[in-house]
């Protein structure tokens, strides 16, 4: 029984079957990649997992509880964090504030009226935030305006914001999209290091096969909204159906 169990999920947008009978099981402490050609339904699936979309049928269980019908903030409080394809950060705030906010969310829940306390007095939260920023090599940018950073830095910041919550499941939506080669390598290394250091369950959507094969222990291949195969990276590499799905796309 995995920490995340997706069973028989269907989602239809008008005439388009975006997800057709998707089953997925993510085991604790593994990195599970979901790959597939454009339009295969990867992002739709991710949006179902975080509560942005509600499927037409099927069930999504996280650690024995259904996530369906819950709001994104409730699902996050259950222990699922998400990194977006284009980094979603608090651009008007400083880097350290960006990371402190998830710490507050983790400690105080979805809402707390802490209007008469001071941020400066929250030493524990600050230490925690600084520790994670050290892990992602951003200690020198603590007081920088988040919006003024490079895209790569924004992505690392967003990852730090997710990791500081110690999520039980981290969802990554193309974490290296649009990155230079060196940055991609750095991100792979970062994720590997963090897995060694903190132990982490990840589900990752990615186009870059290099990233997928360096990180994933299980791979699900999605095509036209339906899982084709689920297997280990070695078996996926030579799988005829996978080649067909990808080559089919290439010929179009």
């Amino acid at each position: 029984m995995g920490i995340l169990e997706v069973k028989g999920v269907n989602k239809r947008f008008g005439g388009l079957q975006a997800l057709g009978d998707v089953n997925l099981s993510v085991q604790e402490n593994t990195c599970h990649a979901i790959i597939g050609p454009n339009g295969a339904g990867k992002s739709t699936l991710l949006n179902v997992l975080v509560g942005k979309l509600i499927p037409d049928s099927g069930s999504v269980m996280f650690d024995g509880n259904s996530v369906l019908g819950r709001k994104p903030h409730e699902i996050n409080q259950m222990g699922i964090s998400r990194v977006f394809q284009t980094p979603e950060i608090f651009g008007d705030l400083t880097v350290i504030e960006n990371v402190m906010i998830p710490c507050f969310a983790k400690r105080d829940g979805a809402f707390r009226m802490h209007a008469y306390e001071t941020v400066a007095a929250e030493k524990d939260i600050r230490e925690k935030a600084e520790a994670i920023l050290e892990d992602v090599n951003m200690l020198d940018k603590l007081n920088m305006h988040a919006a003024s950073m490079s895209r790569g830095d924004k992505r690392r910041l967003e990852m730090a914001m997710c990791l500081v919550q110690e999520p039980r499941l981290l969802l990554l939506d193309e974490p290296t999209a649009g990155m230079a080669r060196a940055d991609t390598e750095a991100t792979i290394q970062l994720l590997k290091d963090i897995r060694v250091k903190r132990g982490l369950t990840m589900a990752i959507i990615e186009h870059d096969m290099n990233v997928v094969f360096s990180l994933a222990e299980r791979i699900t291949v999605l095509a036209q909204g339906t899982p084709l195969v689920e297997d280990t990276p070695d078996n996926i590499k030579g799988h005829p159906k996978v080649r067909e799905a990808y080559l089919g796309e290439a010929q179009v």
Binding site: G91, I101, A105, A115
Partner: protein, 399 residues
């Protein structure tokens, strides 16, 4: 001190000192001089500085931090005034119960309006609040006449019960007091050619405004304030970080509504009557202007903006053509008439034109408001005197 950092404590103490010295600072010209009409140190205007400053501070907690632009804050001002006058009529002429009730009632009112309006954001939120405020205004004028006394406005009468007070002597209407201190009592100090008026009502408003400012400073520095800024910055990230932005925005809305209600209560405490026109949309627009003019999201900006607009409203509007003729009398006759005609468009009833031009200049040249202007000047001065290194440290007390 006071749970603030050293820098903020210093900042707060400066604000306190400026507020307490206002009667002197705003009367820089001797009373007999020709410039005396630019003096703003008379009680009615100083009270308005403090009261509208307080309202703008509260408005800034909502607009400056969360970015939700309410166009209906005058409704809370009006509700606060009505509540305070009713307290004067029914309970006592003491101002404390009046302003406490004003704050509570407007808080409840803000809870209802905020709960509905905050289902939308951006322009739709603004329109909803505007609609609610106009509705309140129209209702106060018509349906709610038994409570609001309609067009005439709510006033004190001799037959009011005032259960805690003894019957007024001599058949004149009682005045608001603070445990016996009359709000309209003043003491004038004559220092050489200068006259400084120290008014009880002003100091009462000033103390409340300072408390309001202190509270807003605490909110700005609190985790709650940080969440509000996060809402303004990115609501998507907010919800995917496990935070529910709705209660945060609602809390900010209610707090700022209570500030406005308190300001309305103080208006009634200075002059115990309340009219529906206080709720009109132009009054809501005014506080938006104040905040933008002074500097959205800065601590001091809204107060400066409020002072600026109230000064323009009360001082520029007093300058009429005969005053202008006095100024330009030395010009040749034909030219004098032209110059006077030209400047008369900008003063007297035309003061709105001056305000409009000022507002345009600020919005176009100084998006950060007058506070940004001040910061730029401070930086420029510092560069001139060659102490550039310390620039970032001290220029941003208002952050």
């Amino acid at each position: 001190m006071f749970g603030l950092s050293q820098k903020d404590t210093k900042f707060l103490l400066i604000v306190v000192a400026l507020t307490l010295l206002t009667p002197i600072l705003l009367n820089p010209f001797p009373s007999e001089s020709g410039l005396a009409q630019f003096n703003a140190g008379y009680p009615a205007l100083m009270q308005r500085f403090a009261i509208y400053g307080l309202m703008a501070i509260g408005f800034n907690i909502l607009f400056g931090l969360t970015g939700y632009l309410s166009f209906g804050h005058a409704a809370f001002l009006g509700v606060g005034s009505y509540a305070a006058v009713w307290m004067f009529k029914l309970l006592s002429m003491n101002v404390l119960p009046a302003i406490i009730l004003a704050t509570i009632v407007s808080g409840l009112f803000a809870l209802v309006i905020g709960y509905i309006s905050l289902r939308r954001s951006g322009i739709y939120f603004s329109i909803l609040t505007l609609a609610f405020a106009e509705m309140s205004y129209r209702l106060a004028y018509s349906v709610f006449t038994p409570i609001t006394n309609g067009e005439t406005g709510l006033q004190l009468t001799l037959s009011d019960p005032r259960i805690l007070d003894s019957a007024p002597e001599g058949g004149s209407l009682p005045v608001p007091t603070l445990f016996g201190l009359d709000m309209n009592a003043s003491w004038t100090a004559n220092v050489g050619p200068w006259d400084f008026t120290f008014n009880i009502g002003y100091y009462f408003c000033a103390v409340i405004a300072i408390l309001g400012f202190y509270l807003s400073l605490r909110i700005f520095r609190s985790p709650f304030g940080m969440m509000l800024r996060a809402i303004k910055s990115n609501q998507t990230r907010m919800s995917y970080t496990g935070l529910n932005s709705r209660p945060y925005t609602l809390a900010a809305f209610v707090i700022s509504g209570m500030y406005a209600g308190l300001a309305g209560g103080l208006l009634a405490a200075m002059d115990p009557l309340a009219g529906a026109e206080r709720m009109q949309w132009t009054a809501s627009g005014e506080v938006v202007l104040m905040t933008i003019m002074g500097g959205v999201g800065t601590l001091m900006g809204p107060v400066i903006g409020a002072g600026f607009i109230k000064y323009a409203e009360n001082i520029f509007s007093k300058i009429n053509e005969s005053v202008l003729h006095g100024w330009f009398g030395w010009l040749p006759d034909g030219l004098e008439d032209i110059v006077v005609w030209f400047f008369a468009r900008f003063v007297g009833e035309g003061w709105h034109l001056t305000l409009g031009l000022m507002f345009m200049i600020v919005v176009i040249a100084l998006p950060g408001g007058l506070v940004e202007g001040g910061q730029r000047i401070a930086r420029w001065v510092r560069r001139k005197s060659g102490r550039e290194t310390a620039a970032d440290e001290t220029t941003k007390p208002a952050e």
